[in-house]
């Protein structure tokens, strides 16, 4: 959960832009006034290269957090428009209202029908206010569940896109059962008798993300994040200092490569140099290809097999120790004799 939906500003990006402007200014000066500024320019170019490396070659977890929240990052509706045809949007939870923070639709991939849903973040302030920055109310989760049950009934696979700071932390959300709605979705997704494919494209914010993210295959974009708590929230609670968010981002192991290693994510989808927003045209085919591969695999499996595999997967996540045996083991291991 995040209190303030972040308007992603990349500090390093801004620094890099400033350095590049300065290089340009010095070059103009040198050209127009015949000054020799080669040393100054060379120093700045070194600085620019170091920044480029920090941003693109080996970004820190905190920098990845900022990439995941980047305002220009491709959004759910971009993926829907690029990947699916014949899209028919579905609305409402039939109980309270239609939550614009959650999207649900019927669509086709390569002509094959499926249900697509996910958090609906906006591109600008106006869209984000209308869609509550992609933070659903309980009715959003219930709308998603309705779409998933529809998919189950008609044997359609579910493709869920995850991009949210978290479930909306408001009084009305609590009163309408935010926790119950999330819990219900999680349970139902563990036993939905149809293939469920999850793509984490931006922010995977805690329970509010997991409520549409329990699946047979979980794919994650290279610079997306998935975490139990925002780095800012973690730093505030543990160290009473929200400014230590970068440290928390490191400690939480929230990047795609960390989560692949921990077995939480099944596949990492590499992003274009500098992030998906730099070249959206390059990320859509990657996601499309991955969806094709995983859907083909999952379509070949019976509902019973899917449910067994899904149960075993989540059952096995975690690291425990039996102090009596003094050894570490994965969660699924039965230590009883």
């Amino acid at each position: 959960m995040s209190t303030n939906p972040p308007e992603a500003v990349l500090d390093l990006d801004r620094q890099l832009a400033e350095v590049q402007q300065e290089i340009e200014r010095l070059r103009r000066l040198s050209r127009d006034q015949g000054l020799t500024l080669d040393d100054e320019i060379a120093t700045l170019q070194e600085r620019a290269q170091a920044l480029t490396a920090a941003i693109y070659t080996n970004p820190s977890p905190w920098h990845i957090v900022q990439l995941a929240r980047h305002a220009q990052r491709p959004r759910l509706l971009d993926y829907v428009a690029e990947l699916f045809t014949d899209v028919l949007e579905l609305h409402g939870d039939r109980q309270f209202r239609d939550d614009p923070a959650m999207f649900a639709a019927l669509g086709r991939l390569d002509g094959q029908p499926l249900v697509v849903l996910g958090h609906n973040k906006g591109k600008d302030t106006k869209e984000n206010i209308a869609r509550n920055f992609g933070m659903p109310y309980p009715e959003g989760y219930r709308k998603a569940l309705r779409a998933m049950k529809l998919a189950e009934r008609f044997h359609l696979p579910v493709v869920a896109f995850v991009d949210t700071p978290g479930a909306f932390p408001g009084d009305a959300a609590e009163e309408r059962g935010q926790a119950e709605a999330i819990a219900r979705n999680i349970e139902e997704m563990t036993r939905l008798r149809t293939p469920v494919l999850v793509v984490i494209t931006g922010e995977g914010g805690s329970g509010g993300a997991l409520a549409v993210a329990v699946g047979d295959s979980v794919l994650m974009l290279q610079y997306a994040i998935y975490t139990v708590i925002s780095p800012e929230g973690c730093a505030a609670i543990l160290w009473h200092d929200a400014t230590r968010a970068a440290e928390a981002a490191e400690a939480l192991r929230l990047t795609a490569s960390d989560l692949l290693r921990l077995g939480v994510v099944d596949e990492l989808l590499p992003e274009p140099f500098g992030g998906a927003h730099r070249d959206p045209g390059a990320i859509f085919p990657k996601v499309r290809d991955a969806l094709r591969v995983h859907l083909q695999d999952l379509r070949g499996r019976s509902a019973e097999e899917l449910l067994e595999r899904r149960y075993a997967k989540y059952r096995g996540i975690g690291r425990i120790v039996d102090a009596k045996l003094n050894g570490e083991t994965g969660g699924s291991t039965d230590l009883r004799p």
């Binding site: 479930a167 609590e174 926790a179 219900r184 349970e187 997991l210 939480l252 921990l262 975690g318 009596k324």
Partner: protein, 317 residues
């Protein structure tokens, strides 16, 4: 072996809520209460009805039938999978403080003569937070209930997911929900009792998935924290926001049950859902309708001390 493991587990019950002494001060009404009277009243303030928090052991002791409980997995604990700053030390401190290996206690026992799998989260162990081991044990409790065709009763008291295990803690929401989902599919009853406080990831998983959801009076129950909500909506929340009574009024839970009536209420629910009955039970079998007369839990006989529901040594499993 670590020091905390050698300690006798159930020899004495530690009182962590209040400083030692003959008199205790109620944090709500500030009245001074004779400690023995408070204990006799199951740590419910006789003046104002405030329900003091209980440890997991105390919770099972006041709810389950005498000498009926056998604990499983007593030594199971979370690893430090992310090597998270300060986590190993916090775990060690929690073990020192509670004499327990983890924030949950589970096993088999009787409630009013009904055989059941029971689990209790311990708020005194790192705020009852759910990491790998808590998730594992809740899942094992559900799987054990499934395998033995027994009902499952879980008492929650938790601040939510344990952030020191990162997304692995978040995944415990899926693990525990999947496990209780199998009980739902199998037609086995699962009763969830929310005690003070039950918040965050525990509410967003197994705690709200009970076939019947109960709460203790005054318990704090909610997903997001009060301060976060107040900052988000930029207004002050009413005092009773996210209390058990508030949740009842909003239709989120089935009933608010005082501590003294919890055993009889659970027994009555288990009777409705067809739990296996143990005959003869460890104590006079209370019929649901006459349970309160048969055994006035609010004033147990002095010769029945706290903790007697738990056998003297945990069974190594």
């Amino acid at each position: 072996m670590l020091n905390w493991l050698r300690r006798p587990k159930y020899g004495t019950l530690q009182r962590r809520e209040m400083p030692a002494g003959i008199w205790a001060k109620c944090p709500r009404c500030t009245n001074l209460i004779y400690r023995k009277e408070l204990d006799r009243n199951l740590r419910v303030c006789p003046k104002c009805g405030y329900h003091h928090r209980l440890s997991a052991e105390e919770r099972l002791a006041v709810t389950l039938d005498e000498d009926s409980f056998v604990e499983f997995d007593a030594g199971l604990t979370s690893a430090d999978p992310l090597a998270f700053t300060g986590y190993a030390q916090k775990l060690e401190e929690a073990r020192e403080k509670t004499g327990r290996a983890e924030a949950v206690l589970w096993g088999e026992g009787l409630i009013g003569g009904w055989r059941t799998v029971a689990a209790a989260l311990d708020f005194y162990f790192m705020g009852g937070s759910m990491g790998s081991a808590v998730g594992e044990m809740v899942a094992r409790a559900a799987e054990h209930a499934h395998a033995q065709r027994l009902p499952l009763v879980i008492f929650s008291a938790s601040g939510g997911a344990r952030m020191q295990e990162g997304v692995l803690s978040l995944m415990q929401l899926a693990k525990t929900s999947a496990a209780v989902g199998r009980l739902h599919d199998a037609g086995l009853p699962y009763l969830s009792i929310m005690c003070d406080p039950t918040t965050g990831g525990v509410t967003a998983s197994f705690a709200f998935l009970g076939d019947v959801v109960l709460a203790e009076p005054g318990a704090l129950i909610g997903f997001a924290g009060r301060r976060v909500i107040e900052q988000t909506i930029r207004k002050k929340l009413p005092d009773d926001f996210q209390t058990a009574e508030f949740c009842l009024q909003k239709g989120l839970i089935d009933m608010v049950v005082p501590r003294g009536e919890m055993r009889q209420t659970l027994a009555a629910l288990l009777a409705y859902f067809g739990a296996p009955r143990v005959e003869p039970p460890a104590e006079p079998a209370p019929e649901p309708g006459t349970a309160r007369d048969a055994e006035p839990a609010t004033t147990p006989a002095p010769e029945r001390p706290w903790g007697s529901a738990i056998t003297s040594a945990p069974r190594g499993v």
